[in-house]
């Protein structure tokens, strides 16, 4: 550690975030390493270290002997101030070396509101933020993560995007970069070669043209690139790397526990949910392997808590068997087991007893919409009877508080649907009083609403987001009809949802806005300490870009979408069919009941998913 760093660390909050040196952090001998990677997460250490994908790819890259992958997180404002004041460039946590001298700078991008942090981190590193300004010696800047399914808003800043699951393609990319380095290729030649690798999207190799009305005319690939670039997946999760020996932070992080990934994908097909489509097809892990990996991870980390991780965890067929296997180890050692993602339609008594064996936390269900009609329209196949059954199980089992998540502004939503949320909340409260195990304890129901953000690669990718005034009108309507002191109502800030909607389906013209907002001081936009809506709106106005064009406009049926440079493997025709069914409030059965022909079976050997 340098003396300069030693002098500033006592001046900042939580300095352990900036030192590295944690248990299981990978430190390699520089003389034996020929390729250096800075793996960046555009948010704080506490958030980034809680990301399972980061941990997986860190392990994958460091498994290559001559490659050294280090972590970099966004420094909080006090640290940034000190780094800039003392001229200390952004460094890798493992070595403390400036990352501008590394071969590869890779960002994990999971949230639109972290875009400005990407620019800020590049700038702190001393790397030009725009890709066209980078020279032959600049590190290659790559990005992966769910935001990259519409890479266009940040394509001015990123040389290469990696689409989908990174376990395999990351290694292929590094191999190619190593070869380019050894053979002295030009940057252009390397980018051309990377553009041929399945799963990699190189924005400089695609030209975008526009119509007079501002919509896209065409996405034209150059140099033999094929569009769309199809995401990559790992076919066999059982054979794939899983980090049982992983870094244990020396300071508290958000998810400070063992994360055990049970399966990828989701059988459900909720029409609003990008993850549900983007992670297809479903691939489950073997329960016996999971038990072994879970126990190994507990032993190696010393964590006293484990969580199962996946979309809709209760859809894992051998879930009870898996829980039993893990609890055999966890219960006698006081290790808590939690399942964060349960559905209201299959939360069983058996499962509840297993969870009770350890610690009891609150229960959260996400009906998403207040009426059956709207739940059918979004294909959230949960009925009121399902919810009642789950509440009965929960309340009679001793839980006394339930959280309910909803979205406002879903396509086809009417005031009747909004008021349906109030009705449902009151019913849950009544069920709590009816089934509650301890009648002396009060029942608490917490209702949360967020403003619906239409996402690319979903059935609702054509839809307009309701504007702020309309969202707030619905919030007020709901609040006025849900005044009960045992019901708490929280609603999310619509400003953030608006910007999410702009960037989630944006095009390349937003790059200038992001850069200018960052130049004016935008960073950590996901944090209320830093977020400034007025600055964003002024920037849009000054650059003559109308954000409503992106957020609040319904797209034409055949409009060219900027995100169609990428594909998650699900066809546009399928999304269009699903949108039609939404308008008819017709449900689509889950993948286990019936294949709906979404297209994701192209990833499966023999063309059949193992849903």
């Amino acid at each position: 550690m340098t003396k300069e760093l030693e002098r500033i660390l006592p001046l900042v909050q939580k300095p352990a975030r900036y030192t590295g040196g944690e248990y299981r952090a990978v430190v390699k001998d520089k003389s034996e390493v020929t390729f250096r990677v800075a793996f960046c997460f555009p948010d704080t250490y506490e958030i980034g270290m809680s990301n399972l994908g980061m941990r997986i790819l860190y392990g994958v890259m460091n498994a290559i002997p001559e490659v050294w992958c280090e972590r970099v997180f966004a420094p909080w404002g006090d640290m940034e101030e000190q780094l800039r004041a003392h001229g200390i460039p952004l460094y890798g946590l493992e070595s403390g070396d400036p990352i501008a001298g590394f071969d590869l700078i890779a960002f994990s991008v999971g949230y639109e509101m972290s875009y400005t942090n990407i620019l800020n981190m590049l700038d702190l590193a001393g790397v030009p933020v725009r890709r066209e300004d980078r020279g032959e010696d600049s590190p290659l800047v790559v990005a992966g993560g769910t935001c990259c399914y519409d890479p266009e808003p940040i394509s001015d800043f990123i040389d290469v995007f990696s689409l989908g699951e990174g376990e395999e393609v990351t290694v292929e990319m590094i191999r190619l970069c190593q070869r380019a380095k050894a053979e002295g290729w030009s940057r252009a030649r390397l980018l051309g070669a990377l553009g041929q690798v399945p799963g990699l999207y190189v924005p400089s190799l695609v030209e975008v043209t526009y119509n007079d009305d501002g919509t896209l005319r065409a996405l034209t690939p150059k140099h033999g690139v094929k569009l769309p670039v199809l995401k990559r997946i790992v076919s066999d999760l059982n054979a794939s790397y899983f980090p049982t020996q992983t870094i244990v932070p020396s300071t508290e992080i958000v998810h400070d526990r063992v994360m055990l990934e049970v399966f990828r994908g989701c059988i459900r097909g909720c029409r609003f949910c990008q993850a549900g489509y983007a992670y297809r097809p479903v691939r489950a892990k073997d329960p016996q392997l999971l038990v072994e990996q879970g126990i190994a991870a507990c032993k190696d980390s010393g964590y006293q808590e484990m969580t199962l991780s996946s979309l809709s965890t209760s859809d894992y067929r051998p879930l009870e068997r898996l829980c039993d296997g893990l609890l055999d180890y966890c219960a006698p050692r006081d290790i808590g087991l939690s399942l964060p993602s349960l559905r209201a339609d299959n939360f069983s008594m058996g499962l509840m007893r297993r969870l009770q064996a350890t610690r009891k936390s609150g229960l959260t269900f996400a009906p998403e919409a207040g009426t059956q009609r709207l739940r059918d329209a979004i294909n959230k196949n949960v009925t009121e009877e399902d919810l009642k059954q789950s509440c009965r199980v929960a309340f009679s089992g001793g839980w006394s508080s339930v959280k309910l998540y909803f979205m406002l502004g879903l396509p086809t939503e009417t005031d009747e649907d909004v008021l349906g949320i109030a009705d449902l909340a009151k019913k849950v409260l009544a069920w709590g009083r009816e089934f509650g195990a301890d009648q002396r304890r009060g029942i608490r129901v917490t209702v949360s609403t967020a403003c619906f953000v239409p996402k690319p690669h979903t059935a609702f990718q054509w839809e307009a987001q309701v504007d702020r005034a309309e969202y707030m009108r619905r919030v007020t309507l709901l609040r006025e009809h849900m005044r009960d002191r045992n019901i708490t109502y929280n609603w999310h800030d619509p400003d953030t949802s608006f910007l999410e909607a702009v960037f989630a389906r944006g095009d390349r013209r937003l790059g200038a806005v992001i850069q200018e907002a960052w130049r004016r001081g935008a960073k950590f936009d996901a944090w209320s300490e830093y977020f400034d809506m007025a600055r964003w709106m002024e920037t849009f106005a000054d650059l003559g870009v109308d954000p409503r064009f992106y957020a609040n406009r319904e797209r034409g049926r055949d409009e060219v979408f900027p995100w169609e440079v990428t594909s998650v493997g699900v066809s546009r025709d399928f999304f269009a069919r699903e949108r039609e069914r939404a308008y008819q409030a017709v449900i689509t059965p889950d993948c286990r009941r019936q294949c709906s022909g979404c297209g994701a079976n192209q990833f499966c050997p023999g063309g059949v998913c193992d849903a």
Binding site: E6, L9, T251, E252, G302, D334
Partner: protein
């Protein structure tokens, strides 16, 4: 309560692990090392670990003491090596032994305060020597506990002894033995008082290291 004691060093990057985080780190390290230890009793039992005299963030030390209770089945001699394999960089267990004397008998702490003085340190040394040698020198220290928001410390009474050494490369080290507890004098409070008293004599950088824990007679405490 538990009778086992560790002496450990905290150095390098580990200097920035806070007291609370260090407790958590040790709790997990005991699990990783498969060393079963005694738990607290009561409704929510957790592994009993107590670290004497929390070290300020950024200080290094070679004499931190941790109390715990080893459950039967493990020899104390095995503990340092097994824990060291399970601890983060910079935290190193030096010995494990049965604790005999109560921590309250720990009276003095021996510190090395390294001062970066690239332009020479003779004037600073002379001034600081004078202040430390006064009969009485009362400074106010902000305190959350005191009603007035500050406590008065008579610094010379909390200094047992000190020496200066002139090291190469523009560094001088103040070796000083300070009161450990009830009340103790944190060396950074001392340095702040000295730099406030002599504002034109400022070191470029200051590093603190705890060298030894002593009893009221100035003998090594274990």
């Amino acid at each position: 309560m538990p009778k086992d004691r560790l002496r450990f060093a905290k150095e390098g990057r580990a200097r920035y692990i806070s007291h609370l985080d260090l407790m958590r780190t040790f709790q997990r390290a005991f699990v990783r090392a498969d060393l079963p230890i005694k738990h607290t009793e009561g409704f929510n039992p957790h592994p009993f670990i107590s670290i004497a005299l929390p070290l300020s963030l950024g200080f290094s030390s070679q004499c931190e003491l941790l109390e715990f209770g080893l459950l039967p089945g493990v020899e104390r001699e095995e503990v340092p090596a097994r824990l060291n394999a399970a601890l983060p960089e910079g935290v190193r267990v030096l010995e494990c032994y049965p604790g005999q004397r109560p921590i309250r008998e720990l009276a003095w702490l021996d510190y090395a305060i390294s001062l970066d003085l690239p332009r020479g340190g003779a004037a600073l040394e002379a001034a600081w020597r004078e202040a430390l040698g006064r009969e009485s020198w009362v400074v106010e220290k902000p305190s959350k506990k005191a009603k007035s928001g500050a406590v008065s410390l008579d610094i010379p009474k909390m200094v047992k002894s000190f020496t200066f050494t002139d090291d190469p490369e523009g560094t001088r080290t103040l070796r000083i033995v300070l009161a450990a507890q009830n009340p103790g004098l944190n060396p950074s409070v001392l340095v702040n008082a000295l730099t406030a008293e002599f504002p034109d004599l400022l070191p470029d950088g200051v590093r603190y290291r705890r060298l030894e824990v002593l009893d009221s007679e100035g003998k090594v405490f274990r």
